[in-house]
């Protein structure tokens, strides 16, 4: 039996099922990161003193990662647009670029973490690094999860383009929504942690 509404929209929601599904998932993600942001505010307000992020963190590295992640969001949406234009080769190019940019983000994050550890800064050091490692660590886990999904859809998963191109385009749209959310979270994390 075939799962209904994979491609066509449900009459009651006006959406194919996966799209509503990803938005419900993203709603739960908003609650997760919302709770952590609230915790950050409380910990910061309660602390007798709080260092400026730019005195402890590497702003140029953080800014580079911001540019990389925004760039990956653009390549992601361009890959979806390529499928809408029925250009599979361009899709492969843009989607591959999205994956490479995600790896670049993680490598830079890895260098940042290594520099902090070698300077003796750990999550247990103080409330600043406790919140820094928790928020950026959880975000990095989301990036890694996105990379795994994107690699599958770029490689073996892309065979679906030949058999069911419309469903495959929907899959890329859903993966894109998740990826843009990861970008959106970083857009708030960067100034909060690095610049204030």
């Amino acid at each position: 039996m075939e799962i209904p509404y994979n491609v066509e929209a449900r009459p009651d929601t006006g959406l194919y099922n996966a799209k509503l599904g990803i938005w419900l998932f993203l709603a739960s993600e908003v609650m997760l990161f919302g709770a952590l942001f609230t915790s950050y505010i409380l910990i910061r307000v309660a602390a007798p003193e709080w260092p400026h992020g730019y005195t402890l963190l590497n702003v140029p590295m953080g800014m580079t990662n911001t540019i990389i992640l925004i760039g990956s969001s653009v390549t992601m949406v361009m890959s979806w647009a390529s499928l809408m234009m029925k250009n599979f080769e361009k899709f492969k190019l843009y989607y591959g670029a999205t994956i490479l940019l995600a790896f670049a983000f993680l490598v830079i994050k890895g260098f940042e973490y290594a520099a902090k550890f070698s300077a003796g800064h750990y999550p247990s050091t103080d409330p600043f690094f406790e919140t820094y490692f928790t928020l950026t660590g959880l975000h990095a886990v989301h990036v890694i999860a996105g990379v795994i999904v994107n690699i599958y859809l770029w490689g073996p998963g892309s065979k679906m383009w030949k058999t069911d191109p419309e469903r495959f385009t929907h899959r890329i749209e859903v993966a894109g929504l998740y990826w843009h959310f990861v970008d959106l979270v970083w857009i708030f994390l960067f100034p909060t942690l690095y610049l204030l």
């Binding site: 919302g34 307000v45 204030l196």
Partner: protein
Amino acid sequence: MDILIPDTLSLIGVSMSDSHAVDVKKTVKVYITVFVALMALTVITVGISYFHLPIGAAIVIALIIATVKGSLVASYFMHLISEKKIIYLTLGFTAFFVLAMMFLMMTVYSTQPVIR
């Protein structure tokens, strides 16, 4: 950005069968414009941080810029500028519960003695 909205609307929400290459190309231009705006705002927010403004002003400015950037990503890359009602409803509930959670935690913090 107002003049860009109709172009975006023409593509988003349509199935592949009724989409047109011309519309997609117009939408691609919107994506590039948004990308440039996001880059500029990133440079501005970092540039302002080098002025070392008082923390209150710095927080307000940084969060305003982040909110504008986030809105651009959500509106254009995530297509929220022209979505179905049920998605707006879902996000409305989410916003309500996030704000309620923040309000409750802040209220508890401000009314209870802090144990250090």
